[in-house]
Assembly symmetry: C2
Homo-oligomer: 342 residues x 2
């Protein structure tokens, strides 16, 4: 029941930062789970403790390979995480942490706890840590907490991270800004399932895996692969200099996990050698700094009742086309200056 530890009774808990630091650095999963619970807390005092915890651990973080996994519902994301995860842990001696960004993620809520799901075997492995998405947070909030949880998982010695997202919302951009490699799971249907996927995701993918490529649909799967491959050749080249690969696999029968693992290693080596791995991580951190700064400045402004009312009114004017959006923004910031000075 590690997965749920700390979720209940959160605000009544006491957190001893020194103990958490020691526990996490010695790879304790209980300490790691408690640390993430602290990070997810909305309590103001907890937030200060969480910042303290993160500042103490950040220099021990960063030593992992972060994999983003997306695909429409039904593409087999949780089965793939289970099969690929087991391969990496059992055959490649990796230590794996699995996180999710969307509240509707397959590892959220009940599904990972039910004994019928394949992820059961993964979650019982001592070298695996699975954490469902926190409930009750906005998408932006969840993304921020997930990015912070990565720091804790890495400090706890997990060298491989999988971050799952559902591929239909805005969360892919957030995940794209926190991972090293982005995997898109597709089906042999060659195109139909794409209609559920958000535009832009194809171009984000470093690896497209046509899952459920099993006996009976191999012709279709190969045709899908050829189609995706020729489409990918029409895309502009990525700044990574990596040409995205299209692979067939069956997560259900754990087929081709070695090929997937091999391509991931190839990618890792490629971006390490050309320096993109490190420069991308720095760029991602600067992105989150500025993104979070903008959001927090807005929160700061909205905490003032008069300004928050003014914002609602100005946004209505903008929606009705009776006020220029930039003028409206200026009026609000002027209100902030006056409100604080006068």
């Amino acid at each position: 029941m590690l997965l749920l530890s700390g979720i209940t009774g959160m605000s009544h808990q006491d957190f001893n930062i020194k103990e958490l630091v020691t526990g996490i650095l010695s790879s304790g999963k209980v300490a790691l789970a408690r640390g993430i619970t602290l990070i997810e807390s909305k309590n103001t005092q907890h937030r200060k403790l969480a910042d303290d915890l993160l500042n103490r651990l950040i220099k021990r973080a960063g030593n992992s390979f972060r994999i983003g996994i997306t695909g429409v519902p039904g593409a087999g994301k949780s089965t793939m995480i289970e099969s690929l995860g087991l391969f990496l842990v059992e055959q490649r001696q990796r230590k794996l942490a699995v996180l999710a960004v969307d509240p509707s993620s397959s590892i959220s809520g009940g599904s990972i706890l039910g004994d019928k799901t394949r992820m059961n075997r993964l979650s019982n492995n001592p070298n695996v840590f699975i954490r469902p998405t926190p409930a009750g947070l906005s998408l932006g909030g969840v993304a921020e907490r997930t990015r912070e949880s990565i720091i804790l998982c890495e400090a706890a010695g997990f060298d491989t991270l999988m971050i799952e997202t559902v591929g239909v919302g805005q969360s892919e951009t957030a995940v794209g800004s926190m991972v090293d490699l982005f995997v898109l799971l597709m089906l042999p249907g060659a195109g139909d399932e794409l209609q559920g996927i958000k535009r832009g995701i194809m171009e984000m993918a470093d690896l497209i895996i046509i899952n459920k490529s099993e006996a009976g649909v191999l012709d279709k799967a190969n045709e899908a692969r050829r189609n995706y491959e020729s489409a990918l050749h029409l895309f502009p080249s990525k700044v990574t200099g990596w040409m995205p690969k299209v692979l067939l696999a069956s997560a259900l029968y754990a087929e081709n996990m070695e090929t997937i693992s091999h391509e991931m290693d190839q990618f890792h080596t490629h971006v390490n050698q050309n320096g993109y791995f490190q420069s991308n991580r720095v760029a991602q951190d600067v992105f989150w700094f500025n993104d979070s700064l903008g959001k927090q400045l807005e929160d700061f402004l909205m905490a003032n009742p008069k300004l928050s009312e003014l914002k609602i009114q100005l946004e209505r004017d903008v929606r009705q086309g009776s006020k220029n959006p930039f003028t409206a923004a200026r009026e609000l910031v002027d209100g902030l200056t006056k409100g604080l000075i006068g």
Copy 2:
């Protein structure tokens, strides 16, 4: 010399808002040019006048079809704007305004003024207004001024707007957030030129025009069209419900301008009928409101020397991996609160 009016001696000019409003509403190009000059001014007093001008004109704006045009250097953007523009003005009785977002745009600086360029004929047409990108502003600043200039052009009765961008930087997203239809200019080379284009632009395009499809390269042009068409079928469908079209054309010989114009009309009718046209414009305005709000809040913060120094220091910590990006952002906002209260 309408194009340059107001660019020189800007800060010494007096602006009479009432006169500008009257002049713009009676389609005066001199008043329109002066109004845009006012909008582009960095002078604080001018900015207040510009907001006043925009607030007086905004209810008269909106009645136009806004077309974004992008493509790598050499794709023939200015020739296309000239040929398609002349067709729309001469054959379809449109009133056309041409704006640009990037400082490196082909209509910026000297090129539109030289007598060898084809855009000369367009710029001499009484129903056409061409405005080069303002110099000395950041990309974000230019995008904001361009979006505001649209309001003035529409209030002056221009019913067709073309907004040019170079297709290699970040400006396409900005342009995509201010136009109704997005056109990507390609070449018959089928792929090579794509390497210069930023990823994601293909998926933004509503219309792909393979320019320079002239005698001698028609086979290649048709092959390119087939390739793009099959690639587009692999993309997820757009929220507009519009299937992007691929057309061949020669801007130099003004061939197929009627087909392009027809497809643009088809698109316009399509999004008018399904309501996307209006809902997209509202969403765009709300986007700019929030985007501008975030930027202005940051400017407000950076105007304080202590906070701006703190920001530089925190960003350095983030870059070096010694501070969690979110914690750094919180420290800066805490600094703001304390700086203003204490």
